[in-house]
């Protein structure tokens, strides 16, 4: 560790837990350092008012000495650029009080990272530099003199190889000392004319608005005239004019030029060339020739995504039954048994063990595949591949008005729409991000597959695989159609020209990847779990109570609130082939709007009650130990099928085997029998199309609201239901055209008019949006 103090503004460690902010360019290894420092002592929330994740954690520097570490989103500059996440980081650095700013530099590309250092210095706050990835610099044939850098910047500089944990002890020591000493950085020697202008404007700002960061604000207003507060415009103009006359250059160009020259000169002074580029550089060059190949790039990307998808789902399936059966044994049967033992009434046992316990069981069974998806995505992000994937796909996605990286959330959406919507944060263009988010509800998630399976067993035996494939394809086409439609109307515009840094390929730190995946999984389980448990509780209450002549009373299921509400909705679904007595199908759709996982469960519950089954039997005498043993035995059993599932990650092959399909769908024999009586193959197909296209689940809509706001969430809900109804109705009506040609033409005309009205409404919205945008720019 090297340190050099140019200014000391304090001598004792601040009371309580001091705050330090980690800042740096994207891909500099900042999050790896954050994970090293904080371990599992992390919290993830949102920055106030925006959906950007706020990651902070507690780090122990020595016995009894803790600090709060805030991991800011990666930024290239304090002066603009990037998406919402970078704006949050800028605002935090400029406005919030932290005891120490810690900038992480990539030693292998020092010159570029020093551009941000130049801006941070102008904030005039205590600074510490981590010179990360010194091994990569060596591989490039470069040696950085950390001590020389420290002397020139006037702040401590700690060399590290964070990926391997090298330099962590020195970093902790340096942080302790920096927090005690409050070391302020040494200002660069700008050209006299630049320095005089900055000082003059800074003094004026201090006098006029008492701005604490007057020096940085002076720089900002000179370089970015559009950001000048009205009170400072006259002063800015005067100083800028003088600076322009003195230098003969445009101020807006002069200041970046000064920063670039300083960074280049400093990097060259502290860097020694030690030899030729090493194997990492050569490997990156060679890999890029294939991975970014004009023709092979796209197939390679699709292969990588397929691999992620297959490994996540096939690997997840090894443990899925264990998680499913263990949580069912404990949270449903065990818990229900306990409630019966303490004398709880049947309805309460059903609601708590069947409803809440059953809901949690559903969420827990999804942990293995979703956890693995998060793990692989974190691996791909840290390996440097994700940026390349965005570049490779940019040309194709641009045709529907989307940036290249929009394809990544789409693929995640096959697993679950919630992480897919959250994954759209990688898109920095706000328009592209909104479009990408609005596409996700149409991607057929794994929960919908259980419903397809149950119907395929009854109606499409022999060609179930083709029907399910068709449903997946319809979802993709509808997602692309939605992006195209909105991109031409309400969200008119073009994807911004592509520009992205391609970091060198790296073998990610397992610890860092695991921690990132764990944080995302934890958020998913907590958020989705709460919703599904609440829905489960309601769904187990509704079939037991109903409006009677004496008011709300306990009734049989055919007179329950569930039946009454569903029957009232049945006429709306009549054009897509749902008959009046098929109200359980509508109840399934209503429950499915909350969570697709509960559709088959709801149908099971309804048909079981209608058949007069004993709902308490499963809780009366459960053999928990045997159930846990059976659950454990599924792991080796499923592992033996792992290889064969690589060619069929979604289990389409099971569609050709009746028993396997029934087991996968979770439908009871009563449910299958009732489905056969209530639907025809055509109405079943229409129903499945509706299931595919309408609201995916409450958690997805919640995520959608958080990412793009209430307005788009409500639009997406209404649009999804409308499109689902239109597609299902058209399929059923044209499938039965011969029986009622006039009705078919009538519904088709009504749908065409509705679509036209939607188009006009969206165009109108687009015009209004463009006008507002122009006014803002003007």
């Amino acid at each position: 560790m090297v340190k050099h103090c140019s200014a000391v503004a304090g001598a004792t460690l601040p009371a309580g837990s001091p705050r330090i902010a980690l800042v740096g360019n994207p891909n500099c290894g900042k999050t790896t350092i954050y994970n090293l420092l904080t371990g599992t002592h992390q919290t993830v929330g949102n920055w106030p008012g925006v959906t950007v994740e706020r990651r902070s954690g507690s780090a122990r520097l020595a016995a009894g000495e803790k600090v709060e570490v805030i991991d800011l989103p990666g930024i290239y500059s304090l002066l603009g650029g990037g998406g919402e996440d970078q704006a949050v980081a800028r605002q935090f650095l400029c406005d919030e009080d932290v005891e120490l700013i810690v900038q992480v530099l990539d030693a292998s590309t020092l010159e570029r990272h020093l551009l941000l250092t130049a801006e941070l210095i102008e904030l005039e706050r205590p600074l510490l530099i981590i010179l990360n990835m010194v091994d990569e610099a060596q591989d490039r044939g470069l040696r950085i003199e950390a001590s020389a850098l420290s002397v020139r910047l006037g702040v401590p500089v700690v060399p590290m190889v964070a990926r391997r944990g090298k330099g962590l002890g020195e970093l902790r020591l340096a942080l302790r000392e920096a927090l005690r000493a409050h070391v302020l950085p040494q200002r660069p020697d700008w050209e006299p004319v630049v320095e005089a202008s900055l000082s003059e404007l800074s003094t004026e700002i201090g006098a006029q608005i008492g701005e604490e960061r007057s020096r940085f604000l002076a720089w900002q207003t000179l370089e970015m005239p559009e950001s000048t507060p009205p009170a400072l415009r006259a002063a800015r103009e005067r100083v800028a004019q003088r600076l322009q006359q003195g230098s003969g250059e445009d101020v807006v160009d002069l200041l970046p030029a000064a920063r670039f020259s300083w960074a280049a000169a400093l990097a060259s002074r502290v860097t020694q060339a030690t030899g030729k580029a090493g194997w990492r550089q050569r490997a990156t060059r060679h890999l890029d020739r294939w991975i970014l190949h004009d023709w092979l790039g796209v197939p390679i990307f699709l292969a990588v995504l397929y691999l992620v998808f297959v490994v996540s789902f096939s690997g997840g399936n090894v443990f899925l039954d264990f998680f499913d059966q263990t949580s069912a044994a404990l949270l449903m049967h065990g818990f229900g048994h306990l409630l019966l033992q303490v004398g709880a009434p049947g309805w309460l046992v059903s609601a708590l063990a069947g409803g809440i316990g059953g809901g949690l069981n559903l969420v827990i069974s999804f942990i293995p595949p979703i956890g693995l998806t998060f793990l692989f995505l974190a691996f791909l992000e840290d390996s440097g591949y994700m940026a390349r994937a965005a570049y490779v796909m940019d040309r194709l996605m641009r045709r529907v008005g989307l940036p290249g990286n929009a394809l990544v959330p789409m693929v995640i959406g096959f697993g679950c729409n919630v992480p897919a919507i959250m994954g759209a944060r990688i898109i920095d263009d706000p328009r592209g991000r909104v479009l990408t988010v609005l596409m996700q509800p149409f991607m057929s998630c794994s929960a919908r597959l259980t419903i397809y399976m149950a119907f395929a067993v009854v109606f499409f035996r022999g060609n179930g695989g083709q029907v399910v494939f068709l449903l997946y394809l319809t979802g993709i086409l509808m997602a692309l159609f939605t992006a195209w439609l909105l991109g031409k109307t309400a969200l008119r515009g073009q994807a911004r020209p592509f520009v992205m840094e391609l970091p060198p390929y790296r073998l990610p730190s397992l610890r860092s990847v695991a921690l990132q995946a764990w944080q995302r999984l934890r958020i998913f389980v907590l958020r989705v779990g709460k919703v599904i448990a609440a829905i489960g509780f309601i769904l187990f209450l509704l079939p037991g109570i109903g409006w009677t002549s004496q008011g709300l009373r306990a009734t049989d299921i055919d007179h329950s609130l569930l039946a009454q509400g569903s029957e009232a909705l049945v006429p709306l679904f009549a054009p897509m082939g749902i008959q009046r007595d098929n109200w359980p199908a509508v109840a399934g759709l209503v429950a499915g709007a909350a969570a697709k996982e509960v559709v088959i469960g709801t149908l099971n519950g309804i048909y079981q009650r209608q058949a007069g089954g004993d709902l308490m039997a499963q809780y009366r005498d459960p053999n928990i130990v045997q159930a846990l043993r059976d659950a454990l035995a599924t792991i080796p059993e499923n592992a033996s099928k792992l290889l064969s599932s690589f060619t069929d990650p979604l289990g389409f092959a099971d569609l050709n085997q009746r028993d396997a399909s029934i087991a996968d769908s979770g439908a009871s024999s009563q449910t299958l029998g009732a489905l056969a009586q209530s639907f025809t193959p055509l109405s079943a197909l229409a129903y499945l199309l509706f299931v595919l296209l309408y609201v995916p689940c409450a958690s997805t809509m919640g995520a959608l609201r958080r990412e793009v706001g209430w307005g788009w969430m409500l639009f997406s809900t209404a649009y999804g239901i409308g499109i689902a109804w239109a597609v299902a109705t058209l399929v059923y009506q044209w499938g039965t055209f011969a029986g009622h040609p006039r009705t078919t033409w009538g519904w088709t005309a009504a749908i065409a008019i509705a679509l036209l009205l939607l188009l006009l409404g969206l165009r109108q919205q687009g015009r209004r949006h463009s006008r507002l945008h122009l006014q803002e720019q003007g």
Partner: protein
Amino acid sequence: MRESEIGREIRSLAQLSRGNQGVIHAIHGAANESKRLLIMGLRPGSAFTLLLGPDRRGVVLDSAGTRIALGREWLDQIQVRQPSAAAKG
């Protein structure tokens, strides 16, 4: 690359080939888009080596040790100057 080593001829990025070196002369187009390049470390005066392209997607270039991918839309908007024949020789 020193200023004296740079030729006078101005070309667009689209006219270069893989392996060519150059210096950005000017960036045309909307100011906010040029700003995006500035933030990524590319501005008039930045030296670079073309690593991949130009092809249907755009180019990948190396500037100050950093690989940056640029979409096709930039190819005609970025004007460059290449090393002079004397500097090459």
